[in-house]
């Protein structure tokens, strides 16, 4: 019965098609407008890895095993979060043409933009898999635990969607949320275990992985991709709770503030 209803809905509605169309166009706009095209999606994390590798492994000698891969997975997850939050603060302004003339649901605009970022993440993740399995000397290879990355990425997607909804709707009434969020993200970047040794991070900031949802997501992604162990379920539970609470808050913000975007922006 339920399946039949869902099947009917998919057949009659064009929502799924529309989300995918908007995501594809967004992706194309981002990467195909410049000379290097999609290569940029791959070059950027590689350049970041080189910088952090030189600083933290060569100069500061942290001695983290498989450090390039350790950085790689941390950075692509972090970049997805930043692109989906900082990159979408002005979304109600830039995508005004979609809702100004019709009663299109604004949530679709957010989901399609995050889907477009997910395509970028997918390419980066494929690069990580190739790097880790073929070029990393200390690699443990593929494992069944790798599949947990799907649940972890879904967690990150919900978290980023919630934050994106909150920030972009605040933008409707306070434009300088853009600058405030930029300061906050650089703070968050240094308070996440992206390039630190996990034991140092935990020793210096005890229990902080429970206070910073991005930290938990990165820690769990490394566990399942590089350590052949399942995620820390308590941490995963906490991070899902954060993401769902922020998403619910975001939906409330969208209904309260976002609905006024057509007249305020």
């Amino acid at each position: 019965m339920l399946l039949k209803i869902l099947n009917d809905w998919f057949k009659r509605s064009n929502k799924v098609e529309r989300l995918w169309l908007l995501a594809k166009i967004e992706f194309k706009l981002r990467y195909y407008e410049n000379k290097l095209g999609l290569l940029w999606a791959l070059i950027k994390p590689l350049m970041d890895i080189v910088i952090y590798y030189v600083v933290f492994q060569i100069i500061m000698q942290q001695n983290i095993p498989a450090f390039a891969s350790y950085l790689f997975i941390g950075l692509i997850l972090w970049n997805f979060f930043v692109e989906s939050t900082t990159g979408t603060i002005q979304i109600l302004n830039t995508k005004k043409y979609l809702y100004e003339y019709s009663n299109m649901n604004k949530m679709e605009i957010y989901v399609s933009t995050l889907l477009s970022n997910s395509i970028g993440f997918f390419f980066n993740f494929m690069m990580f898999l190739i790097f880790y399995n073929f070029f990393e000397k200390e690699s443990t290879g593929l494992s069944i635990q790798n599949f947990w990355i799907l649940a972890i990425f879904l967690n990150l997607f919900i978290l980023a969607l919630g934050m994106s909804l909150i920030l972009s709707t605040i933008y409707v009434i306070a434009k300088d949320i853009t600058q405030i969020w930029m300061v906050f993200t650089s703070f968050l970047f240094f308070l996440s275990p992206i390039f630190y040794k996990l034991t140092t991070f935990k020793a210096r900031l005890p229990l902080f992985e429970y206070g910073n949802p991005i930290a938990g997501i990165i820690i769990n992604a490394r566990r399942v991709m590089m350590e052949e162990v399942p995620p820390d379920f308590q941490l995963l539970g906490f991070d899902y709770a954060y993401a769902i609470i922020l998403l619910l808050l975001g939906i409330i913000f969208l209904n309260r503030l976002g609905s006024r975007a057509a007249e305020k922006l």
Partner: protein, 244 residues
């Protein structure tokens, strides 16, 4: 007859809060915590109720500034209402000089995006694609970004998407002023041949001939209120008296 109704609005109203100082940054808000901005409330739409049936063509007339555009935006679901409730059955499209388009996208991409926003499936847009391009007379520029289009080309494309794709409920605000005379003739022809049949249309115009020709019922608005809603001739008469 729930199925036969396109829009039900009960006791809807809309006030715009216009602040004289722009307190739209966090800094401004913090520094002026005890000095709130001088606000002016403009009651653009007084408490109004109305019902529009499916397949009906409704006229909306009144002098400039009487609230026609606000009412159409509220009925189209673009603006939220302050009071009351509004129920919209189907997709809506608001059109003054065409539908919304992104300047960063090509004409082709805009056709697909707008078609999709108006509720069409990709296959349906595929079928309409040539008709849209031909009607807009932009065959040689289909893969050009619309930001390089002239204003006339832009208006023609937007109009063409709107007439060929269409939504369930259409709000047409002075649409017959797009393009040159030849294009206007084409616009009127397509309007008569396809839109009038089966679609719900709310027509905003200062041209009484247009209203008289297409609308069975019309609303006359004055000072943000619907003064009369019913027979078109009566509404036109009230509008003419108001203009004297």
């Amino acid at each position: 007859m729930e199925n036969g109704i396109a829009i039900t609005a009960s006791n809807i109203s809309k006030t715009f809060h216009i602040s004289e100082d722009s307190h739209n940054t966090v800094k401004h808000r913090l520094f002026n915590l005890f000095n709130p901005p001088r606000r002016k409330d403009v009651l653009a739409l007084k408490s109004t109720s109305l019902e529009i049936n499916k397949g009906e063509c409704i006229g909306l007339i009144g002098r400039n500034g009487c609230g026609k555009t606000t009412l159409t935006k509220v009925l189209a679901g673009v603006y939220p209402t302050d009071t009351g409730q509004i129920k919209i059955n189907g997709s809506t499209m608001l059109m003054n000089l065409g539908v919304g388009m992104s300047h960063e996208l090509t004409a082709r991409e805009n056709i697909y995006v707008s078609g999709s926003v108006l509720g069409l499936k990709i296959k349906e847009v595929d079928k309409l694609f040539d008709a849209i391009v031909d009607f807009a007379e932009i065959k040689d520029f289909i893969d050009t970004k619309v930001k390089f289009f002239s204003s006339g080309m832009m208006a023609r494309l937007a109009f063409s998407i709107a007439v060929n794709a269409g939504a369930d409920i259409m709000f047409l605000d002075e649409i017959f002023s797009v393009g040159d005379m030849k294009f206007q003739e084409k616009a009127i022809k397509i309007f008569e041949s396809s839109w009038i049949q089966g679609k719900t249309v709310v027509l905003v115009s200062h041209g009484m001939e247009v209203i008289r020709k297409y609308c069975n019922r019309s609303a006359f608005m004055k000072f943000g209120q619907i003064e009369f809603f019913g027979d078109t001739e009566k509404a036109i008469e009230l509008y003419k008296t108001d203009n004297q």
